[in-house]
């Protein structure tokens, strides 16, 4: 067995989900015996069998990635409850193992996965997906790139062909539920994630799950962004949100206005005043990057 074969064999067996008692399963999905695989790979010692020694690594693998996901998605956990949250995470991580050198990206595919596997959020599918979108946007906004800011004084130079660039850390979310209310309730303190080089000794479910009352459906247009190092959530009106989205899709100002603010009964003066207010506000928050 060469290095590549050995590593593939160890990874395959250690990444199999643990039993409810946090032990390695006796057999792999293809029927092979975990014990026989361990015996073939790992030396026993005077205190531990081959399986027991391999199990330390299997437990470390699961404890670490589950703890990381629990830290990143406390809102989803609050919506689902601990048992369903654990079941969902194990299924997700089993199907979508990490493909990044950083644990930060572990939840990158969760929204797409959950859209296909709605059975893991029975009765709260849409709510759960909204919360995942919000919690992932929060991660992206926290450490996303920041381009040089658009100078608010240049607002007077705008014309219909002006193309705005939104900051990479800015994430507009059209939500079906006011999950930001739940989010604020769950996260009273700043979110910080760190990797360390030590072992993990505690299964994440041992930490307390916050109970929240589930919100009723209500359309919310939300922007997740960063200002002075902190992540903020800001609700926008439907019109403002549509315009921001249209600009973010790379439409010139004139076209963005046409598509996002269709025929309106409002007076031109009122609309002009409204647009000035929005753009001044968005520019002052740093949402626009300098034009390329």
């Amino acid at each position: 067995m060469n290095l590549e074969q050995l590593q593939r064999a160890v990874f395959e067996v250690t990444r199999q989900p643990l039993t409810p008692a946090e032990r390695m399963r006796p057999r792999l999905p293809d029927g092979r015996s975990t014990r026989e695989i361990a015996n073939a790979l790992i030396k026993p010692n005077d205190r531990m069998t081959s399986v027991e020694r391999l199990q330390v690594y299997s437990q470390q693998y699961w404890f670490r990635i589950l703890a990381s996901m629990a830290e990143d998605f406390p809102g989803l956990r609050a919506i689902l409850g601990q048992r369903k949250f654990d079941k969902l995470l194990v299924a997700y991580l089993n199907e979508c193992p990490s493909e990044s050198f950083t644990l930060r990206n572990l939840g990158a595919r969760l929204e797409a996965w959950l859209r296909v596997h709605r059975e893991f959020a029975p009765g709260v599918e849409r709510l759960a997906i909204d919360m995942v979108r919000l919690e992932w946007a929060h991660i992206e906004a926290f450490d996303g790139a920041e381009l040089p800011r658009f100078n608010p004084h240049d607002l007077s130079k705008l014309c219909g062909k002006t193309v705005f660039r939104l900051q990479p850390y800015l994430h507009p979310l059209d939500l079906s539920y006011p999950v930001d209310d739940v989010f604020f309730e769950i996260r009273k303190t700043e979110h910080d994630s760190n990797m360390v080089s030590n072992a993990v000794v505690e299964f994440p479910r041992k930490s307390r799950t916050r109970r929240v009352s589930l919100p009723k459906p209500r359309k919310v247009d939300l922007v997740v962004y960063r200002l002075d190092g902190s992540v903020y959530l800001k609700r926008l009106t439907r019109d403002a949100f549509s315009l921001l989205q249209a600009l973010g899709q790379g439409n010139p100002l004139e076209k963005a206005l046409e598509t996002s603010l269709p025929r309106t009964r409002r007076s031109v003066d009122h609309l002009t005043e409204q647009l000035r207010e929005w753009f001044e506000n968005w520019a002052s928050l740093g949402w626009f990057a300098q034009q390329a």
Binding site: L6, V10, S98, A199
Partner: protein, 282 residues
């Protein structure tokens, strides 16, 4: 040998890991610390608070980068995106040397986020050394590899862990981040004499030393970095200093992290073992 080519000929003293719970104390009190070790991956991001914090730290303190996911021992090639991001960070921190673990942790582009033990084979040593050389050539900074704690040994191994370490560092011509706590943990888990390990390490290649605490379970010891350093580990540290000379030393405390003062006080115990201190004690 306080300075050598494996630590950029630097002369660093006793440092501690830069951890989130200590940020407020560090920025408010501006304590005197020889240097901070950062986990590279926590700062390999595009922007935001992590880089703002790092830049503030760099204004006042010396920083050395320590990685957890380069996986020199993985059979697959180095991750080019990882290397590119790491190089950006190296330019930012101006780290005199860079460390990561002598282990593997990725297979077919999938990551375990763990520090898995190597099979101690000549094939593995050759491939690992090749990847260390590639990384060093790309990053243009000296690299030192850390011996990891382990809980399992492979049947296919053809040598001891310390023989494997020697094979790799000689072939790669790189430095060693000697973790004396990891030597102790592995010695207990695998029934070997930690001093035999220590005495076989090429002292002239030791760029840095790690000290840490661990957790003892019924059948094995786990490298948890959540306790003070125990006396047998201090004994190994003392011997390591005798062999290698005063060397940049870092206390790791990553879980159940106490106050900054407590962590720093624990780290500074290392100064007791420096040659001047030993003379005064005798």
């Amino acid at each position: 040998m306080p300075a050598n080519r494996f630590n950029g000929n630097s002369d660093y003293g006793v440092g501690i890991g830069l951890r989130v719970p200590h940020y407020q104390h560090i920025f408010k009190k501006k304590p005197v610390v020889d240097w901070f070790e950062i986990i590279s991956e926590n700062f390999m991001v595009d922007g935001g608070r992590p880089l703002e914090i790092l830049d503030q730290i760099l204004e006042r303190y010396r920083v050395v980068q320590h990685g957890v996911s380069m996986y020199f021992g993985s059979a697959e090639p180095l991750n080019r995106e990882h290397l590119a991001r790491l190089k950006l960070l190296v330019k930012r921190t101006k780290t005199p040397w860079l460390t990561d673990h002598l282990c593997w942790g990725s297979v077919d582009g999938r990551y375990t986020h763990d520090l898995l033990p190597m099979p101690y084979t000549f094939e593995a040593a050759r491939k690992t050394a090749q990847k260390i050389r590639e990384a060093r050539d790309f990053l243009e900074v000296p690299i030192a590899v850390e011996n990891v704690s382990s809980y399992a040994e492979f049947h296919v191994s053809e040598m001891t862990e310390w023989e494997f370490l020697n094979e790799v560092v000689e072939d790669a011509d790189c430095g060693i981040l000697l973790d004396v706590n990891n030597i102790y943990v592995s010695s207990q888990n695998h029934n070997f004499d930690p001093f035999e390990y220590l005495h076989s390490v090429p002292a002239e290649r030791v760029a840095q030393i790690h000290i840490a605490g661990h957790s003892k379970y019924r059948k094995f010891i786990l490298d948890t970095h959540d306790h003070p350093v125990i006396d047998p580990v201090w004994a190994l540290y003392a011997r390591a200093i005798e062999l290698a000379g005063p060397t940049a030393t870092l206390l790791e405390w990553d879980d159940r992290i106490p106050s900054f003062q407590e962590v720093h006080r624990e780290a500074l115990k290392a100064q007791r073992y420096l040659p001047g201190q030993l003379r005064e004690a005798s």
